[in-house]
Structures are given as C-alpha cells and as structure tokens.
C-alpha cells in the first residue's frame, strides 16, 4: 500500500515537469519574452534591469526555462500586463468560487449518476433503462452553453425563480442562513449545467460496471445465503461496481475544470473560468498561462487523489 502510494507520487514528478515544459513552450507563441512577465512592473527601472539579468533574458532558451521554473516553484506566476497585479493573487481570489462550483458539480454527478446507473443496470432493457440511456446521450451531446442559456431563459427570464447570473445579489444580506440561500440560488443552474455531461458519463459507466458485477459468482453466493435483494444489490454488487467508477473521479476533474471556463462565462460566475475568458479577450497572456499551469497542476493532484482512493476501495490493492 505504502509502496503503491510512493510509486504514484514518484510517477507524478516527471508529469509535473512536463506540464511546466509544455506551458513554457506554448508561452513562446505569445508576443514578447515570457520571462518579462515574471518581473513586478511596479519596481524601479534599475531593479527591473537587475531582475532581467537575474532571469537570464539574454541567455539561451533552456537556461531561461530553468530560471522561469525556479520562479514558478517559488510561487511567482508572473504579473498582469495591464494592472501589474501578481497572477498568483488574481487566481487565488477566484479559486474559492471555482472550487465551490466544480465541487458541487462533482457531487451532483456522482450522487445522482450512481443511483441512476444502478437502476438502469438492475432494470436492464426496461422502459426506464432505455429512457435513461437516451437522456445520457442527450447529456453528453448538448453544449453546456446552450443548456445554460436554456435554463436561464426558462427559470430566470420566463419563470423568474432563479437569478440569471453572478454568485450573489448585490446588496443582499449575506449573513447566516440567508447568505447560504442566496449563494445556493445562484449556484443551482451553473452547477447543474457543469454536472450534466459528467453525470451522464458516471451513469453509463456505473450501469455497465454493475451489469458486469451482477454476473459474478459471489452474487449468486450472496443470494444463496438468503440475503435480501437490497443487500445483494447495494452491499455486494454496488461496492464492487464502484471500484472502476473511482477512475471516473480522476477523469472528471479536468473535465469539470475545463467546463467551468464556459459555464462561468455563461452565468457570469466570478471564478477562474471567467477570469480566464476575460484574460483571453484582453490578451493578458501571463494570466492565461498562469491559469493553464495552475489548473493542470490541480488536475494532476486530483488524479493522484483518485489513484490513491482506488487503492482504498479495493482491498486487493490495499493488502498487497
């Protein structure tokens, strides 16, 4: 078990290195020297000259890369071209909103997707299973911006039940329970939009995993013991069926962060995604690249957590 975790951690190191290298390579496409953006523009001209020397802007690209990497590792993601604010600080301000949105979508997709998948598997080829399958296909085929606009049109503009955009109403009382309610009302639609395709994937995956598990001998043993149908399904089958579903945890993370860029833009959700789209429109490459780097590292960490939880749910890995 410990070996397994250590091996996974060691495997992550070259990937981390690769992520920084790819980011640096993409930055070469941007106008100007990427190292320039690593210097705080508010300091004096002399200090800037010194910093340029220190960063080796006259050195070969490979040296530049390692100097840039050193800055990254010390937490310097560069500075905004227009305002001079540190990129790390800008991202940090937007991170909580994005985490709230992606985590909500994450939970929605598993809490709803898994039971629906189990239902489909245990009612294979029934009308319910077929409708579920159709809805799952719809879920992965509908562009999230279109679904988002549709929800806004119906629930915000026509019915007036939910706010059209943002994270909180300006001037609303955000203390205590009332605050939670305000946030929740704003969160509902973007979280559902972000969750839908992932939910569909989780559901289909749970279904096929469950169908496969139900054919195993130990299910027959469980029935022969006289266990109730519920115990056979929810204790014996589901627990085994969920082991491969954990791999979807890992796959969900880049998917949800990627989806957040569009969803946040549609709902004007003040997270990293809308920061990213604003930065794209304003040609703020330091912010754009900082976001790419930061989200990919988040994804790497998420994958690590998923791999390790895989070991926890499968005793065959845990005790080997």
């Amino acid at each position: 078990m410990r070996q397994y975790i250590i091996r996974r951690l060691l495997q992550a190191v070259p990937i981390l290195f690769g992520i920084t290298l790819l980011t640096f390579l993409i930055m070469q496409l941007a106008p100007g020297n990427p190292l320039q953006t690593m210097i705080d523009p508010t300091i004096s001209m002399e200090e800037i000259n010194m910093a340029e020397k220190k960063l080796g802007m006259d050195q070969p690209k490979i040296i530049q890369y390692f100097n840039w990497l050193r800055e990254i590792l010390t937490g310097n993601l560069g500075y905004s071209v227009k305002t001079g604010q540190p990129v790390a600080k800008l991202i940090g301000e937007r991170l909580p909103a994005t985490l709230l949105l992606t985590m909500s979508a994450f939970f929605i997709s598993f809490i709803i997707g898994v039971p629906l998948g189990v239902y489909s598997a245990t009612h294979k080829y029934s009308a319910g299973d077929y409708s579920m399958t159709f809805l799952a296909f719809l879920g992965i085929s509908i562009p999230n911006f279109f679904f988002g606009l549709g929800l806004i049109y119906v629930f915000a503009l026509k019915l007036g039940w939910l706010p059209t955009s943002g994270m909180a109403t300006i001037g609303a009382d955000l203390s205590g329970f009332n605050g939670v309610l305000v946030y929740a009302r704003h969160l509902v639609m973007p979280a559902i939009v972000l969750a839908l395709p992932n939910l569909a994937t989780v559901m289909r995956f749970t279904r096929s995993s469950m169908i496969e598990v139900l054919l195993h001998d130990f299910i027959r043993t469980a029935k022969a013991k006289g266990l109730t149908h519920r115990r056979v399904i929810y204790k014996h089958a589901l627990r085994n069926a969920l082991i491969p579903v954990v791999t979807i945890f890992g796959l969900s993370i880049p998917f949800l962060f990627g989806g957040a860029y569009i969803t946040e833009q549609v709902f004007n959700w003040p997270g990293m995604g809308s920061l990213g789209i604003q930065a794209i429109t304003a040609r703020e490459y330091p912010i754009v690249m900082g976001l790419n780097l930061f989200t990919s590292i988040l994804v790497l960490m998420g994958n690590l957590i998923a791999d390790i939880s895989y070991a926890f749910v499968d005793p065959r890995i845990r005790y080997s």
Binding site: S141, P143, F145, L149, Y153, R204, I211, P254, F255, Y261
Partner: protein, 296 residues
C-alpha cells in the same frame, strides 16, 4: 495464412454490419447525419437567402431581428441576415471542422500510439508521459489559449482541436498494438525480414481499424462541440462566416435571449441533433464492432 486472416475479417465485418442494422438509435443517427451532410453540400440550393447579406424590408430599411415570418421562417439576426440560411451554411462549418480536426488527431494519435506500442522502452515512456502531461490540461482552455495565440479562424480551430485531442487515440492504438504484436503473424513476417514500418502498416493497422473507427466517430462529436464552444466564445470561427457556435453568441445579450428565442434556439438544437446522431452512430459501431466492449 494471410488469406485466412482476410476471410475471417470479412465475415467479422459482415457480422458487425448485421449487428449495427439492429440498433435503431444508430440507424436514426445515420439517417440524420446523411441529411445534414446533404444539406451542407447543397446549401446554396436549399438556403432561401445569401447567408452574408443583410436583408432590407419594403421600406428599404435593414430588417433587423425580425420575428419568424413566411419570408424568414426563423427570423433575421441582429444585422438583418436570414437565420435559416445561416443555419444551413453553418452546418458546412461544423461538419468540416469536425472531420478535419478528427483526421488530424487520429493521424497523430495513431502514429504516436503505434510508435509507443511497437518500439516500447524509452520511445513508449516518452510518448506515454507526454499523453499524461497533455491530459492534465483542461482541454477546452488549452485549445482556447492556443487558438488565441495563433490568430483565431476556422483553420486555426480545426488544427488546434486536432493537435490537442490525440491522446485517447494514442492510448487506444498503443494498447491494441501491444495485444496484436504478440500474434504469430507479426513474428513470422519479422523473421522474413520485413521492416518495422511495413509490419505496422501492413499487418497491425488493419487489425486495429475497428477501435479506431469507433474512436474517430465519438471524437467527431466531441470536436463539433468544442468548435461550437470556441465560436460561442468568439475565439473559433469568426464572423461573418456562420457557425452554430457563433450564432449562439448573440444570446449573450439578455434581450435577444429573452425575446428572440429563435435566433439562439435553432442553432443550439442543430448542434444537439448533429452531436447526438454522431454519438448514436459511434455507440452503435462500438457495440457492433466489439460486442464485449458494449454496454448492452
């Protein structure tokens, strides 16, 4: 030996075709997709107006945001162009972006996956670590970033989607090659002194066609969705070229969203129907070509 193998694959495809024909959703998908392709090819004959021309009404004024009528059955957009005509022409854009982008990604993925699977060792390690790196990036934002850095256009969109979405194919091809390469016929041609390249293209690729076809189909659906997203955000296909994504961009204005639903609803539905039909076909192909992989 080669002959026997060929016969086997023929009956395999015949059987797959029979299984595919039983799948009603997949057949529906084929029907819809063929109609879409036809309407894209014959767009100039079908479209009632020039998709780039602003229409003027009787009084000689620009006919802006007119509601659906007998003349414009989906109305006109914010610069007075016929929505229905743009919708038909946009199909050309979406389908061609999908096909070109996926062709690029399948070629890259197949080449890299073959190299990794066939040569193993450090070649494999480097390529597969590369895959691990690329999949850590949220694909959509990576594509947005690169297409912005290179000037956004329909061609940039095609190329960048292709350049970034090869990872699944590479993994798949590598896995299949690892399986197939143990087969005796590869060994025997190696003994005869066939060069590696010949082994890959003559012997292994025909065997892994089925999973690649499935992968390509499902990825086309994905590529069309990504193109729509990019164009919606304004970093994909640029105005005045019509694309379903950039037509939806108009709905970012609350008044259009609230009061002119036809303008954004019709391209949205067009995307859903296209992507849905391709996904049905892909799923049908998967079930037909590899019955043990299927969900049913």
């Amino acid at each position: 030996m080669k002959k026997g193998h060929k016969q086997k694959s023929q009956s395999f495809y015949a059987l797959a075709f029979r299984r595919f024909k039983k799948n009603k959703l997949a057949l529906w998908g084929v029907f819809v997709l063929l109609s879409l392709i036809a309407s894209a090819i014959f767009a100039p004959l079908i479209a009632p107006y020039d998709p780039y021309m602003s229409v003027r009404n009787d009084k000689g004024m620009l006919d802006i945001l007119s509601p659906p009528s007998s003349a414009h059955f989906l109305g006109t957009d914010s610069v007075g162009r016929d929505v229905a005509s743009r919708l038909i022409y946009a199909g050309r854009v979406s389908l061609s972006v999908g096909v070109v982008a996926v062709s690029i990604s399948i070629v890259i993925g197949t080449v890299l996956g073959s190299l990794a699977g066939f040569f193993g060792r450090w070649v494999d390690s480097v390529i597969m670590r590369g895959v691990d790196v690329v999949i850590c990036f949220p694909v959509l934002f990576l594509i947005i970033t690169i297409s912005t850095l290179l000037k956004p256009s329909i061609y940039t969109t095609m190329i960048v989607i292709g350049l970034v979405s090869w990872t699944n194919t590479a993994r798949l091809v590598r896995g299949e090659i690892l399986k197939v390469r143990e087969f005796e016929f590869v060994e025997s041609s190696r003994a005869l002194g066939a060069r590696n390249g010949r082994i890959i293209f003559r012997h292994i690729l025909p065997n892994i066609m089925a999973p690649i076809v499935v992968q390509a189909t499902l990825q086309t659906a994905q590529a069309i969705l990504i193109e729509a997203s990019l164009s919606f955000l304004g970093v994909g296909v640029q105005q005045p070229i019509p694309s379903w994504g950039n037509m939806l961009n108009e709905a970012m204005s609350l008044t259009i969203l609230a009061f002119k639903p036809m303008i954004w609803f019709s391209p949205g539905i067009a995307i859903v129907i296209t992507v849905l039909s391709i996904n049905f076909i892909g799923d049908g192909l998967r079930d037909a070509l590899d019955p043990k992989l299927g969900n049913n």
